[in-house]
């Protein structure tokens, strides 16, 4: 698949402070999670991608075209900022209408799109209230609405779930997932791992302005072959299985999990372990209920990569 967004040796300094360092990557259609702690450089990266900041070094390209001050591209991009900032005295409908007018739509089209976007984020009933009277969740949904109301094919969402209650988060996650199915390119940033996991397996890990890893979360995990991998197995005879694991070269430790009949194995070679596991189970005649990898998630990968 060809990259929609491409950065080449992208770096950004704020005076002497490094915001982003030597980032070269390609983002393809679908949802890509941009994950990193606060101050990692996520917002800087997204502002560079949306042309709000000028790169100190390097380039940002969307479909091969430079982004900065390229107004022709901006009609194809929707950006939901991290900041909780609005023209507070205008109503939600007026705000959306203004943003759509700036996209070039005529009054009738603007009204239709504003109404559709308000319906999408379930703010139609509150459309004539000033934005300053909106709750945090409503404001977040309005920000999302202005990012998608003009139907862009590239959507950049900077911490879109920040400050939302669980119900609000679920609504926004559902909205973002709906857009994925329409073949768009979506980048979602977050410092909260489960949020990204709920949205995508395709990630970019960023820390201190540098990209630590990119790609499918499982592939990224596989790359860390020196990092021990934990596997949890729930079965009918956990003690027999634990005893057998202790004879294997690649098994570093064996523990019994908090859940009943669970063996937690730490292996130094994930592929070899899983390659031999079925044979072992058959050999011992053990009945397995569940096999999981508790650390096969973003938190484990992130902690390892940033050296925690």
């Amino acid at each position: 698949m060809s990259a929609v967004i491409e950065t080449r040796k992208l770096s950004k300094w704020y005076g002497n402070v490094l915001g982003l360092s030597d980032v070269s990557l390609r983002v393809e259609p679908g949802i890509t999670g941009l994950l990193g702690p606060n101050g990692a450089g996520k917002s800087t990266f997204l502002k560079l991608v949306t042309g709000q900041l000028k790169p100190s070094i390097g380039r940002v390209l969307i479909d091969g075209q430079a982004v900065r001050n390229n107004t022709a591209l901006f009609g194809r991009v929707g950006f939901c900022p991290e900041y909780d900032a609005f023209y507070e005295r205008v109503t939600g409908r007026q705000f959306l209408t203004a943003m759509l007018r700036l996209c070039g739509f005529d009054p009738a089209e603007t009204t239709a799109r504003a109404e559709a976007a308000l319906d999408l984020v379930e703010l139609r009933a509150d459309q004539d209230r000033p934005v300053r009277s909106y709750s945090r969740g409503m404001r977040q949904r309005l920000k999302f609405a202005q990012a998608v109301a003009h139907d862009p094919d590239i959507i950049i969402l900077d911490e879109p779930l920040n400050g939302l209650d669980p119900l609000g988060k679920r609504k926004v996650i559902r909205l973002i997932r709906d857009y994925r199915t329409e073949g768009r390119t979506i980048i979602v940033s977050s410092h909260v791992l489960p949020e990204i996991e709920a949205l995508t397996k395709e990630i970019i890990l960023i820390h201190q302005g540098k990209i630590l890893a990119t790609g499918d979360i499982h592939k990224v995990r596989d790359l860390i072959d020196t990092h021990p991998h934990i596997v949890s197995i729930t079965c009918d005879r956990p003690r027999d299985l634990a005893l057998r694991f202790l004879k294997e070269d690649d098994v570093l430790s064996v523990n019994f999990g908090a859940a009943p009949r669970t063996v937690v194995v730490e292996t130094g070679n994930r592929d070899r372990f899983f390659g031999r596991l079925p044979g072992l189970l058959v050999e011992l005649g053990i009945s397995v209920e569940e096999i999981t990898s508790p650390d096969d998630n973003l938190q484990a990968v992130f902690d390892y990569l940033v050296g925690k």
Binding site: K54, G75, F79, P81, Y83, Y87, R101, C103, H150, D153
Partner: protein, 272 residues
């Protein structure tokens, strides 16, 4: 919703027009507009005081037009216009940066220069309306006994033209200042009540480095005459047509510079 490509590309002028209409709509409802409108009517209050004072003194005003041209116009040109234009002009860029709403404008398919020019046009319209309404009302109050003659109206229109030129030039300058510095308000105050207030009284060519010089060149001469007049302020006026041309040129140059800065500068918005 149909595809984004169905949105027609706006020309530069259309983009300016869209920005203008949005900020005209946003701005006219704002408490700031209402407050500034009240402030802009201070000349009317001054004129009313002058008239009431004449009533209590039981004699008519010696020369309402002199009071209007010396008192009201000096107050407007050297204080009121500068103050209101300073607040509006610097806010064109700074309110977006400080309110962190800038990204809503700079990620839309409109040139950044159109954002500056559209907002400039909206704010100049607000200022021109509020200042000129105040001047017209003050004029009517002062000339209430001679409204029928119509002899003074050309002077009123001349003064309104000068005030409008002042609004155009000063707003353009403060727009530029707002794009250049986060301390534009403080710098603008120094410029307005420091540089402009002082240097315009310097003799010789120095006074030509102020905007006020060209504005005053369009008004009836106020240069003192008499024995010690060489010690007092002496306006060395520029020819009216040249003064208008310089004011318009300054407006264009300041606006072009503001657009250039706004287009190429990185604005760092503060975090929560």
């Amino acid at each position: 919703m149909s595809a984004a490509s169905s949105a027609p590309r706006l020309s530069f002028l259309q983009s300016c027009g869209r920005v203008f209409s949005i900020f005209f709509a946003f701005g006219r409802r704002s408490p700031r507009f209402k407050l500034y409108f009240v402030l802009s009517q201070m000349p009317v209050v001054i004129a009313l005081f002058a008239q009431v004072n004449q009533v209590f003194q039981r004699q008519g005003m010696q020369s309402p037009m002199l009071f209007f041209s010396r008192g009201i116009m000096s107050f407007d040109l050297q204080f009121l216009v500068l103050l209101l234009v300073l607040f509006y002009g610097t806010s064109i860029c700074l309110e977006e940066v400080e309110g962190r709403t800038l990204m809503y404008l700079t990620t839309r398919p409109v040139p950044k220069a159109a954002v500056i020019l559209g907002k400039y046009a909206a704010y100049v319209l607000f200022l021109a309306v509020m200042i000129n309404v105040g001047v017209i009302l003050a004029f009517l109050v002062l000339n209430i006994r001679s409204l029928g003659t119509g002899a003074a109206y050309p002077v009123l229109f001349q003064f309104m033209g000068v005030l409008t030129l002042a609004i155009l030039a000063y707003t353009a300058f403060f727009t530029l200042l707002g794009t250049l510095s986060k301390r534009a308000l403080a710098l603008g105050l120094m410029f307005s009540f420091g540089w402009e207030a002082v240097v315009q009284y310097f003799p010789g060519a120095t006074q030509r480095f102020t905007i006020a010089h060209y504005l005053k060149s369009l008004l009836p001469s106020q240069t003192a005459t008499g024995g010690l007049s060489f010690l007092t302020y002496r306006l060395e006026p520029t020819a009216p047509l040249l003064a208008v041309a310089v004011l318009l040129l300054l407006t264009v140059v300041f606006l072009a510079a503001a657009c250039l800065v706004f287009t190429h500068k990185d604005f760092i918005l503060s975090t929560d």
